[in-house]
């Protein structure tokens, strides 16, 4: 990858779904560039395709046509297995409802992505401790999700997303289920990860307050149209 190339590039991307035999188009020729180290908030009405776009960036969903490149990987050309392994090594994902495994404690949840890598148990333990420290949860390693507040669970979710040190962080409404105070904590943390650790972050949100933490905001509307606005 040369410096002139954006980190993420989307070209002529098409995506639709069939609902009850009727094909509906969500993206029809979407173009988007995101440079390395960016912090983008994606906003837009419900059903406009924000999650769909994020899922394609995560390699969970695939475009019908067009090009989707992240770093040197053309996700649109990769099969299911290759994308799973790409996910394991290149991006972290943060969910609105945290998606922690209820039968695992905080440390075990955070450890999951590391288990896909050739690391010793000690290396894994050290890394888990470090990221739990980073998100302000040291001492809570052995707590189960059911014993934690929403804000704490989401911080475990963020720790899990960054534990294998990916360059890209994808967050789908990460504060959608949190109170203001917890939301601000989480957003502070994302800003820290972007500014201090250089992570590229793409965050879908409904919340204009949340969007203010991003470097720029993209408005998604009417299917395939993306309007860009500088955050105030």
């Amino acid at each position: 990858m040369t410096n002139t190339q954006p980190y993420i590039s989307i070209r002529h991307l098409q995506k639709g779904y069939k609902i009850g035999g009727e094909a509906i188009s969500i993206f029809d020729g979407l173009d988007l560039d995101i440079p390395n180290g960016d912090f983008v908030a994606i906003m837009g009405p419900s059903g406009s395709g924000k999650s769909t776009l994020l899922n394609m960036l995560a390699g969970i969903d695939r475009p019908d046509a067009g090009e989707l490149r992240i770093g040197n990987s053309y996700l649109n050309q990769m099969g299911e297995g290759a994308r799973a392994s790409w996910r394991a090594h290149n991006m972290g994902i943060v969910f609105q409802f945290y998606n922690l495994l209820p039968m695992l404690n905080a440390a075990e949840n955070v450890e999951l992505p590391l288990l896909l890598k050739p690391l010793s148990a000690k290396d894994r333990r050290d890394r888990v401790r470090k990221v739990l420290d980073l998100v302000g949860l040291s001492g809570r390693e052995r707590q189960y999700p059911s014993m934690m507040s929403g804000g704490q669970q989401q911080r475990v979710g963020i720790a899990r997303a960054i534990v294998s040190d990916p360059g890209l962080l994808l967050c789908d409404e990460p504060t959608g289920d949190l109170d203001r105070k917890s939301a601000d904590d989480v957003l502070q943390m994302l800003r820290f990860l972007n500014q201090e650790l250089g992570k590229t972050i793409i965050m879908v949100t409904h919340d204009p307050e949340a969007a203010k933490y991003a470097k720029r905001v993209l408005h998604l509307d009417k299917g395939n149209f993306v309007e860009e606005k500088r955050a105030a």
Partner: protein, 400 residues
Amino acid sequence: MSNHIKQTFIMSRANLFSLPRRLAISTSMVLSVALVVAVLAGFLAMSKGFEQALEGAGSSDIAVVLGGGTNQEMGSDIPADAIRNLQAMSGDFGVTRDAAGSLIASREIIVTIGFTPEADTLPRTLALRGMDASGPLIRDGVTLSDGRLFRPSAREIVVGARIAADFPGFEIGETVRLGALDWTVVGHFASNGSAFESEIWADLETTRAAFDRQGQVQSLRLRLHDASSLSSLNVQLQNISQTRLLAVSEANLYAAQAGRTADIIQLFGWPLALLMAIGATAGALNTMMSSVADRTVEIATLRALGFSRLSACLATWFEAIALACIGAVLGILASWLGFNGWQASTVGANNASIGFQLSVTGDVMLNAGLLGLAIGALGGAIPAFAATRLPLTAALRASG
């Protein structure tokens, strides 16, 4: 590949922890597998026990001569002149002789007798064997456990241990009505649980007289030098009578009977067990489908983190096999505790009941256990495939 194994291991561990959420339906799968395994083990143990009872009865050093083209005592008839001719033959044709030079032989008949053990019970069929005085000696592994042998021309019987144990009225000194006449019990014999223990022995002439079988001989028992003497005996038998005579080793005689009946037991047991197994497989399929449904969000989350399809598939399949395995172990344990050593009886080759013990042996456990595992492996296959086809986006969307 090793990475897939590791991922599968982690997914399986998560499955294990989530099992309590599906306790009821998982338990029902375990129990239905256990039931099938126990039923099959029961039938196989019966078949195995029957085989063991009859195999124990046979020695290959003893020949049983049968006449009239049959290979079992039932329906066999040996003419008196054939026996006289054989006894008159000099020279060594493989049969042991006593000190006086006579063949060690016992002429025998079997009479089946309807017997009602107690008032208001179903009649059972017993086998009374009339034999020469040398008869008990031409049987290996038989010991007189109590009393004495019958005396010639006395209406006395020696009773096998199974009959003495199963029916009242066979204590030594007691009188038993067999057919139209009363007989006195003078002894009990044992033979390590073999089919002999289901017979009653008496003097040949007395038996013939009591049941109007004068002059009849169904089988002639001879003691051979060793197993290989059988063929020279058969050569000799060609020349002594118009009637076709055939000597078989006692071991083969009983083994052939055992084989037939054991086959019948299995012929009934396997289809029944397989039919039940089909039901249990449908149950396993249902259990595992609801397991996949229950774990949808967890599977999708792990897949989103980069876990492979294969690991989702294998972990689901292993859960099915693990549950089936628990069921199989329970079923085997239940059959072992419940059936092993159980006394049973069936109708043997002479139309008389033969007692035997159910025997849950290693290969009974193996066969029944493998059927249990097959239920898990088959019932879990489609759900395992379904686990790989989970639409991730829909699963993650519904995660709230």
